[in-house]
Symmetry: none
Subunit: 137 residues, 4 copies
Amino acid sequence: MFFRIEPDSGTSIFEQIVDQVIFRVASGSLPAGGRIPSVRDLAQRITVHPNTVAKAYQELERKGIVVTRRGLGMDITAEAPELCRRLREERVRKRLRAALQEAIGSSLPPEEVRRMVEEELSGLNGEPIARLPTSAE
Amino acid sequence: MFFRIEPDSGTSIFEQIVDQVIFRVASGSLPAGGRIPSVRDLAQRITVHPNTVAKAYQELERKGIVVTRRGLGMDITAEAPELCRRLREERVRKRLRAALQEAIGSSLPPEEVRRMVEEELSGLNGEPIARLPTSAE
Amino acid sequence: MFFRIEPDSGTSIFEQIVDQVIFRVASGSLPAGGRIPSVRDLAQRITVHPNTVAKAYQELERKGIVVTRRGLGMDITAEAPELCRRLREERVRKRLRAALQEAIGSSLPPEEVRRMVEEELSGLNGEPIARLPTSAE
Amino acid sequence: MFFRIEPDSGTSIFEQIVDQVIFRVASGSLPAGGRIPSVRDLAQRITVHPNTVAKAYQELERKGIVVTRRGLGMDITAEAPELCRRLREERVRKRLRAALQEAIGSSLPPEEVRRMVEEELSGLNGEPIARLPTSAE
DNA sequence: GTGGTCTAGACCACG
DNA sequence: GTGGTCTAGACCACC
């Protein structure tokens, strides 16, 4: 339902958290000015250690996506939406390019590559990403 | 036979070596019965630690792609070509799927994802592919 | 009496309040025997949580700068002016020393450090101070 | 002798490590292309937990001052010296400015402030900063 | 309640 | 040997 962490997905847990927040801000599901869930709250919901969430949140702050309100929590900055749309585009494009580059480099015939892309694309249902729980919930 | 090793590409060096051997066997550029370069030789050519090459070779042997001819070197097995074509398909498909899954999961509109795929594919192919004009253009 | 609170200045809000009261008492702008604003009043004026103001006031009381007149408010003690002049000197000197120590410890040439001090002092004073021309100019 | 950590200096341990590396690179005491001490090595020398050193090193990598050579260690980048000189200047100036601003804002007479600066400056011996131990030692 | 830091110790992949 | 990640639990300052 909310926030999907896959422990063995190659990307580390804290990075998955970072990505999902970025994607949600980019999509508008987390609006600028809003507050993200507290470290302890999110940690409990996705059953990871609070330190891991904290590390992700620090990375988000470093990127300028959230700011710490001392004693209160962390808020999404005004610049975050545009920033996150840009980051999302970069990240997705970079990984797509790497995968396609590998596919081409593998000497698979290009038509074959394209066929695989089509298969995968049609197989994937564009199910909307889950909402990040808000502290109000 | 030459290898392109990119130290900062996310995939480890030893895995890049494994992949490239698999891809070359699959494409026929390394024929069954042939001998692959010695650990030291390859290590020197791609300026990598011999241990790293050795680890890759172990992995290849474990997969049944090469066999050790004691005192002589390592030969590509008779079953390797078919095996490698299968492995190549698996590997490429798995990474493509992961990248596309992420792209879809990021809430980027599917047309946008498809557009990015087309852009990257055409850029990589060298052969331009007609892409759909978007409303933004 | 008005306060300048800068939420992201490294020093905590409650400490900024403490400092400003000390500085004002030291300068005579808050005279002995006078009454400081109520917790709620000040909190509202500087848009800060009342708890934060209360904590600052506790600290001021602990230091003997103010005393609680139950039901009335808090008054500046007779000893406060002298006490605050001393505290002000300590505090300012301590922070100056720390900053200068770091500057020296950074291996910046001492002349460079002095030059930076002059630049900053003149910029802050408003009254330009003749600075040494450097070879770079 | 090497690397001085002061646990109660207001700045966190990991940040002290970051600063000292920056200062040393800026001063040339740690040359570009060189390798910094391993996480475990430095941790042992300054008797802090390896995680703390690791956190500092990650920050340095993020800033582009060092790069990780997988399995080998971390090297100082070619751009680091210039970068660190800039960072050092920024950091020192920022802290000097803050201290001076506070001094001025405290209503101390400007001559008094200047006198304090002179006292502190003359009192501080510009003892050269310690060397960072290299892995060769 | 909030986040930030530190210690501790484990496990992993990599070279 | 190297760094990277994670869990665990403690302590702190702040609001």
